[in-house]
Amino acid sequence: MGLSLQRRKDANTGTSLIIIFIGLGLAILSFSIVFLIAGINPFIGFKEIFLGGFGDAYVLQQVVKDTAPLLFVTLAFLLPSRAGLWNIGAEGQFFLGGVGATGIALALSNQPSIVLLPLMALGAIVCAGVWAFIAAYLKAKININEIVLTLFLNWIALLLVKYLTVGGPWMNPEGRSESKAIPLTGRISVISGTNIPVTIFVAIVAAILLYLIFQKTRAGFEINAYGHNPEASVKAGINAKKVILISLTVGGMLAGLGGFHQSAGVIGRLRYDLTSGWGYYGILFALLSKNNPLWAIIVTFLSTGLLVSGAQSLQYDLGMGGGIGLLFVGVIIICFVIPQFLKEYTISWK
């Protein structure tokens, strides 16, 4: 006697649309409950979220600006995830990207932009790649759990940044807890008329490239195959170590580009609040986009608007708690995962 699960035989595309609507409905319902508990009229709450995300040109510009780093970390989770690996380390890899970019900028500050910027990007990619490679290597060689490794490396990365910027070698002598400024030659140019660094296009191109890699290339096929059944893939001749090393390391590099964008494009220096939890948002956005890189572009943009920026304005304008954004992301995932599950299974009481 109890709940029993059965796989549906007749899952079809027709139900997919219904699921999106059910998911949305559930999300709106649960958000309303949260608003009511906080003593806020849900209509005002939703209006605030929407205005806070897409309300005017300025807000929209901020959202597009933040979409870039968030898209990078989303892809940083998505790529290894296709190989069945959980990269919880985008946060740390993002920091290391900032470290690499800032380090190069400070060391070669007299170089012209044309030399400096590519080197900074390279520095970000290499540092973040090495950071992810540590986890990837230990996973591939002696099968240490990558979730634990990447998570711990996040804290080490944060401490490294604190060491460099708070009293360390890169500390800004005039400021408090930040590095010296990246010279103007090392700043990423912005789209004219806005304050959005052009790295947003790099993020979008990276997503499209990833999509093409999964669709059209042998490497993408191998990563996918390994993610679905490691044993069968290894038996077919796929090199497991290579898949693990490449997917995790390249994932880390993508997160590193996010760090490059943020330090050289937005803040202009390295700070220990370069990212505050964005690496973890990436995990949730990747899950929401069902590991599809093209969907990731749209999902990241919408989520950045509604759940990051919009939720922030709930905090500032309506006085809701600071964790409200993450709460909503969590609620949304549950609202979409449950109907997704019900698409494949039926539950009955026996």
Binding site: D10, F221, A232, S233, G237
Partner: protein, 517 residues
């Protein structure tokens, strides 16, 4: 149908009395497959009643209905004169129906007695192990079972594990015992012992219902009656199985004449394709499982390795294919030392492998049939080489093999995990036959397959032999090994005996060699 729970019916049957009766059991799956079509059956206490049928005949569905995992759409089940409802495994247990699964549902780290007690409603919160042991010992003595109750399950061989499953069912008080492929994975000696015990159980007025696809002659030997299923219907129920020829049985099962013993083609043997010298390896527990194994196979030659499961066959296959590292020795394949070569390199050189645990290692369930063909073609076919690949690259080969192997699915874009067991087995074969390998390692060629597919596979293997491929065959089925191989080597506790030409040996000789005599 009344929706209350099935009440407990505990009754002792007299020998010859009807234990359970099915009337017009019909089950149609969503998607339209009519798996059971008006099946009526009567099973008596004190008989071994074999249910025979090839893959897709409806055996699994019927079994699942009997143990409460599936509900029939139509039809009634009677125990004695009483109509009963089996809506859950719990109901089945209350009706004293027990099931011995083919895939054993036991816990390796638990001892035999713990496994027997596990899940039994009578065990209670504080199990009285000593008392239960006494009861199990009585059961063992009664039916001639020989198993150490304190041994951990992982220490037992396949035959002993099978006995634990049976003891578990007997301990729970079942008197209708359903068995799925009771002899699968057992050596000839273990099979004989098991079947003798089943006969003893039947004499104690238990109803034994083995469901069988392969090892027909051995199992039917002990059956008092058999029922043959085909396409979800009862084709025949016979009392006089002992006089039936296996050709006649196969006829019933497939509905057409099938060839059982066909001639092995005479082929010219070429040069030595693979040579193995003093190969040694450890098993997963770090214990030497392969000891100084040496053999060689020529082009167009089939070497059969006969042995009881767990004597080093898996380790040998894995070392050859590169899945396991050897601790010593040398493998030379097509003139190249590949002892430490990657799996990819071995496949590129033309080494194909069909493993025993087909579902875990053979295919990717979430991929379509076509995508699985791409996977197996990655390093073996020219059309899937290069940095850029398109899944359509394998379409021709996938379509061809799909129809050659008669895989029952809508098309090659069907997601693999939706295929039935028999069709999956065929697909795995098709995957490894689809490319022009030079050397084929095949574990348990026809296990779990129906007669028609078995025949087709043997034909394909002989064709491969004619094309000059070398074949290494692992099988526990001595008849099969004798039919298929040019030479046979017994394996026992990791040591491989000398290869003997198959015409110079016989079943008895090999049978003795694989149990170390």
């Amino acid at each position: 149908m009344k929706e209350q729970r099935q009440k407990n019916i505990v009754r002792e049957f007299k020998k010859g009395e009807t234990a359970i009766e099915l009337r017009g059991i019909t089950k149609r799956y969503p998607g339209g497959v009519l798996a059971n079509d008006g099946i009526s059956l009567e099973i008596r206490a004190g008989e071994i009643h074999g249910i025979l049928g090839e893959n897709g005949a409806g055996k699994t569905t019927l079994m699942r209905i009997l143990v409460g995992e599936l509900k029939p759409d139509k039809g009634d089940i009677y125990i004695g004169d009483e109509k009963v409802y089996i809506r859950s495994p719990q109901d089945a247990r209350n009706l004293s129906i027990g099931m011995v699964h083919q895939q054993r549902k036991l816990i390796p780290k638990f001892s035999t007695i713990e496994n027997i007690l596990l899940g039994d409603p009578g065990t209670g919160i504080l199990p009285n192990i000593e008392k239960s042991k006494k009861k199990v010992k009585e059961l063992s003595e009664k039916f001639d079972f020989d198993v150490d109750l304190d041994a951990k399950l992982w220490q037992l061989d396949a035959g002993e594990a099978q006995i634990v499953e049976i003891l578990k069912v007997l301990y729970s008080g079942a008197n209708i015992i359903i068995m799925d492929e009771p002899t699968a994975g057992l050596s000839p000696i273990q099979q004989e012992k098991l079947l003798a015990s089943l006969e003893k159980m039947a004499r104690e007025s238990l109803a034994i219902v083995p469901f069988v696809t392969h090892k027909l002659p051995i199992v039917t030997e002990v059956c008092d009656r058999i029922t043959v299923l085909r396409n979800g219907k009862v084709i025949n129920t016979s009392d006089s199985i002992r006089v039936l020829s296996k050709e006649e049985l196969a006829d019933w099962m497939v509905g057409k004449k099938v060839l059982f013993d066909f001639e092995k083609p005479e082929t010219e043997l070429g040069s030595i394709l693979i040579e193995v010298e003093n190969l040694s390896a450890l098993n997963d527990q770090g214990v030497p499982a392969l000891k100084n194994v040496s053999f060689s196979i020529r082009e167009g030659e089939v070497l059969g390795i006969a042995g009881v499961a767990g004597n080093g066959q898996d380790e040998l296959a894995e070392v050859l294919t590169g899945l396991r590292k050897p601790t010593g020795g040398k493998i030379v394949f097509r003139g190249e030392d590949i002892t430490h070569a990657s799996i990819r390199k071995r496949r590129e050189l033309g080494m194909a492998y069909r493993s025993e645990d087909v579902l875990e290692r053979g295919v990717i369930g979430d991929f379509s049939i076509l995508e699985n063909f791409v996977l197996s073609s990655l390093y073996t076919q020219d059309f899937c080489r290069g940095m850029l690949i398109n899944v359509e690259c394998a379409r021709d080969i996938a379509e061809t093999e799909f129809s050659n192997f008669d895989i029952r699915a809508p098309n090659i874009y069907t997601i693999t995990k939706n295929l039935s067991g028999g069709n999956l087995s065929k697909l795995i074969l098709a995957l490894e036959f689809s490319w022009s390998s030079k050397f084929l390692i095949d574990q348990l060629v026809t296990q779990g397959l129906d007669v028609a597919t078995t025949e087709y596979i043997r034909k394909r293997l002989f064709e491969a032999k004619k094309e000059g491929k070398a074949i290494l065959l692992f099988s526990k089925d001595l008849d099969e090994i004798l039919i298929m191989s040019d030479k046979i080597a017994p394996i026992y506790e990791g040591e491989l005996g000398e290869s003997i030409p198959s015409e110079k040996t016989n079943k008895r000789e090999i049978g003795a060699a694989i149990i170390g005599k």
